[in-house]
C-alpha cells in the first residue's frame, strides 16, 4: 500500500508519515502544489492525503485534475478550513473522506484503513478485528458470525475502540467522542463506566477475542483477551 501525503506543515507531515509507516504503509510526501503535481503525474498511489491550502495552489484543484483524468485513487482531504463548504466541495469532487484539522493521527489512520478496505471490498466499510466484525453503515456487530445486539452508545463505543485497537484511550476523550460536547464539563465519568460495563459483559458473553481493559484508572485499551496485560 502506497500513500502520498500532501501537507505543507513539516511537523504535521512528519507525524502523519510516522503514523502511516507504523501501520506498515509505504509513504511519499509532497510539501507544495508543484511537487504534489509532479508526484501525481509520475506515480500511482493507493491513497492520497490531501491538504487543501497549499503553497502554490489549492488541493481541490489537484483533486479536480485527478478526477478529470479518470484516476480512481482514494483521496482523504485533511484541511484546517473547518467549514461545511469545503467539506461539501471536496466530497462533491469525489474525495472519499474529509477530516478537519486538528485531528489525531489515530483517527486519520482509522479513516485510511477504512477507505482502503472499502476500495478492496467494493464499498463495504466493515471493520474486522479477531472474531469481531462491525459494519458502521448498517450498525451491525457480529462475533463469530452471530449477531450481537448493542444499544446505540455501546455500538458507538465499540466502533471507537475498533478504529483504535491496542491504543490507550483516555476516558475523557472517549466520552467526548461518543457523547459529544455535552460531556466536556462533566466532573465524573459514571456515565462512561456504566456503558463500558454493559459492553464488556456483552463481549464476554459472546466469547469475543478482544476485550476492553482498564489502564491505571484513566483509560482503556482494546486488546486481545489472551494478551499479556
Amino acid at each position: 500500500m502506497k500513500i502520498l501525503i500532501i501537507e505543507d506543515e513539516p511537523s504535521l507531515r512528519e507525524l502523519i508519515e510516522r503514523a502511516m509507516r507504523s501501520e506498515g504503509y509505504r509513504t511519499e510526501t509532497a510539501e507544495d502544489f508543484i511537487s504534489a503535481e509532479t508526484k501525481l503525474a509520475g506515480y500511482n498511489y493507493d491513497c492520497i492525503l490531501l491538504d487543501i491550502m497549499l503553497p502554490g495552489g489549492s488541493g481541490l484543484d489537484l483533486l479536480k485534475r485527478l478526477r478529470t483524468e479518470g484516476r480512481r485513487e482514494n483521496v482523504i482531504i485533511i484541511s484546517a478550513r473547518d467549514s461545511v463548504d469545503d467539506r461539501v466541495d471536496g466530497l462533491e469532487l469525489g474525495a472519499d473522506d474529509y477530516l478537519p484539522k486538528p485531528f489525531h493521527t489515530s483517527e486519520l489512520v482509522a479513516r485510511v484503513r477504512s477507505v482502503l478496505r472499502r476500495g478492496r471490498t467494493g464499498g463495504s466499510l466493515t471493520i474486522d478485528i479477531g472474531n469481531i466484525s462491525l459494519d458502521p453503515a448498517s450498525r451491525r456487530v457480529t462475533i463469530d458470525g452471530r449477531v450481537v445486539e448493542l444499544l446505540k452508545k455501546e455500538f458507538d463505543i465499540l466502533l471507537y475502540f475498533m478504529q483504535r485497537p491496542e491504543h490507550l484511550v483516555d476516558k475523557a476523550v472517549l466520552a467526548e467522542a461518543v457523547w459529544g460536547d455535552y460531556a466536556d464539563e462533566s466532573d465524573n465519568f459514571h456515565f462512561v463506566y456504566a456503558q463500558i460495563k454493559n459492553l464488556r459483559r456483552k463481549l464476554e458473553d459472546a466469547a469475543a477475542d478482544m476485550c476492553i481493559r482498564s489502564v491505571y484508572g484513566f483509560g482503556y485499551k482494546f486488546s486481545p483477551v489472551d494478551a499479556e496485560k
Partner: protein, 423 residues
C-alpha cells in the same frame, strides 16, 4: 437642558441687568429733563415777581389759576447773601386749594428791592410724583423684557428645531446603530456647515470602528486558525508518547493530563473560531430543523451524563416544531443552553425545559442572580470549572443575534430563566 432653553436662559441672564441699568438711566434722564423745564418756568416766574416788586407794581395774586405759588419775606443781609444765586430743591408742599400735600419744585432767591431791603423770594410749582414715574418706568421695562423673552422663546424654538433637524436625524441614526451589524450611510441632508461636518465626522468614526472591529475579528479568527495545527501536532506527539514508547505509570499519568489540557485548548480554540465565524456571518445554509426533537435529544443526553447528580429534568415540547435554521447552529444553541442549566445546578435540583409557540424556556435553581449585562459575555463565569470554555452562552448570544432571535435572562423566585424567541 435643551438647546433652546439654554439660549433663552443665556439671553435672559444677559438682558436682565442691561434692562435694569437702562431703566435706571432712563429714570434719571427723565427726572433731569422735567426738572430743567420746571426750573426754567420757575426762573421766569421769579423774575416776573422781582421785576414787578422792584417797579412797585402789583404782584400776581396767589390764586391766579396757575398752580404756582410764592412767598416773599424780608431777610437780613447775611441770610440774603447765601441766596444771591437761585437754588432749586424738591419739597412736599401743602396746596391749600387741593387741601393736600403734593411734591413741588421750589426755587429760592434773594434780591434787593427799591428800598434797599433784602427780600427772600420762594417760588414753587407742583411737579410730578417720583414714585409714579418709577412705577411707570419699571412696568414698561418689565413688559419690554417679557415681550423680548416671548419673542426669543418662539424664535429660538422654531429656528433651533428647524436648524437642528439634521442633528436629530443623526441622533436617531446613532441610536439605531449596532457595531458589526452592517450600516447604512448616515443621512447628510443639510447646508449648515457645522452639522454637515458633524455627519461626516460621525460617518468616518463609525467606519473606523467598523474597520477595527473587522480587523479584531479577523485577528481572533486568524490567531485561532494558526493555533490549530501546532496544537494538533503537540497533541499527536503526546499520543505517540503514550502509545508507542511504553512510558511508566507516572509518566503516563502526566502525559494523559497534558493531553487533557491540550484537548481543552483545542476545544477552546475551535469554539472561538466558531464564534468568530458566526459573528462575521459565515454561516452555512439553513434547513427546516425539528427543534422539538433537538430539545428532547439534548435533555436526554444531559440527563444521562449527569445522572449521578439526580437532577430532575422536566421537558415539555410539542411533537414537532420546524424552524428554518442551520442545523449545526440549532444544535449548538439548544445544547449549550440545556448543558448550561445542568452544569450550573446543584444535585437534586429541578430543571425545566419548555418549548411552546416557538419560545424556548429553560429554567434551573440558583442561589443568586447573574449579572444581566455580563451573562452573555465571553469568558464570564461564576465558578472556574475544568473543561469549561466560558464561551457557551456567548455562542448562544451570537447565534441568536445572527438569526435575530430574542434572548433574555431573568432571575425570579430563586430560579434562572433563559428564554429564546425563535422568530
Amino acid at each position: 437642558m435643551r438647546l433652546s432653553l439654554r439660549i433663552l436662559s443665556t439671553l435672559a441672564m444677559t438682558l436682565l441687568p442691561i434692562m435694569a441699568l437702562w431703566g435706571t438711566l432712563f429714570y434719571f434722564t427723565m427726572v433731569r429733563e422735567i426738572n430743567d423745564e420746571a426750573d426754567d418756568s420757575l426762573e421766569q416766574y421769579a423774575s416776573l415777581i422781582i421785576t414787578r416788586c422792584r417797579e412797585g407794581r402789583a404782584l400776581p395774586s396767589l390764586n391766579s389759576g396757575s398752580n404756582n405759588s410764592y412767598t416773599l419775606q424780608p431777610v437780613t443781609t447775611a441770610e440774603a447773601e447765601a441766596h444771591l444765586s437761585p437754588t432749586f430743591h424738591d419739597e412736599e408742599m401743602f396746596i391749600p386749594e387741593k387741601n393736600e400735600r403734593e411734591p413741588a419744585r421750589v426755587m429760592t432767591i434773594a434780591f434787593r428791592d427799591n428800598d434797599d431791603r433784602y427780600l427772600l423770594l420762594t417760588v414753587a410749582t407742583p411737579t410730578f410724583e417720583k414714585d409714579d414715574l418709577v412705577e411707570t418706568i419699571l412696568w414698561w421695562t418689565v413688559s419690554l423684557f417679557a415681550l423680548l423673552m416671548i419673542v426669543v422663546i418662539i424664535v429660538s424654538t422654531l429656528s433651533v428645531r428647524r436648524t437642528l433637524r439634521p442633528l436629530y436625524a443623526l441622533l436617531s441614526w446613532l441610536d439605531g446603530y449596532t457595531p458589526g451589524q452592517g450600516h447604512h450611510t448616515i443621512p447628510n441632508d443639510t447646508d449648515i456647515k457645522e452639522l454637515s461636518r458633524l455627519n461626516e465626522a460621525a460617518e468616518s468614526a463609525v467606519n473606523r470602528s467598523e474597520d477595527m472591529l473587522d480587523r479584531q475579528k479577523q485577528f481572533i479568527g486568524n490567531a485561532s486558525h494558526e493555533l490549530q495545527t501546532p496544537l494538533a501536532v503537540v497533541s499527536n506527539r503526546v499520543e505517540y508518547l503514550i502509545n508507542q514508547t511504553a512510558p511508566t505509570e507516572e509518566q503516563l499519568t502526566e502525559l494523559v493530563k497534558i493531553d487533557r489540557s491540550l484537548r481543552h485548548s483545542i476545544r477552546l480554540n475551535r469554539t472561538l473560531l466558531q464564534l468568530v465565524r458566526i459573528e462575521s456571518g459565515e454561516v452555512a445554509e439553513s434547513d427546516d430543523v425539528d427543534i422539538a426533537e433537538l430539545v428532547r435529544e439534548s435533555a436526554d443526553r444531559c440527563t444521562e451524563i449527569y445522572e449521578d447528580r439526580a437532577m430532575e429534568c422536566q421537558v415539555t415540547t410539542p411533537e414537532h416544531l420546524y424552524i428554518y435554521i442551520n442545523e449545526t447552529l440549532a444544535r449548538t444553541l439548544i445544547s449549550n443552553l440545556i448543558k448550561n442549566a445542568f452544569v450550573h445546578s446543584a444535585p437534586q435540583s429541578h430543571i425545566e425545559v419548555t418549548l411552546h409557540d416557538a419560545t424556548l424556556r429553560i429554567s434551573n435553581d440558583g442561589t443568586e442572580a447573574l449579572d444581566h449585562s455580563l451573562v452573555f459575555d465571553r469568558f464570564y463565569t461564576q465558578t472556574s470549572r475544568e473543561g469549561s470554555t466560558g464561551l457557551g452562552l456567548a455562542i448562544v448570544k451570537s447565534i441568536c443575534d445572527h438569526y435575530r432571535y430574542g434572548l433574555t435572562y431573568d432571575y425570579k423566585n430563586g430560579r434562572h430563566h433563559f428564554t429564546v424567541t425563535l422568530k
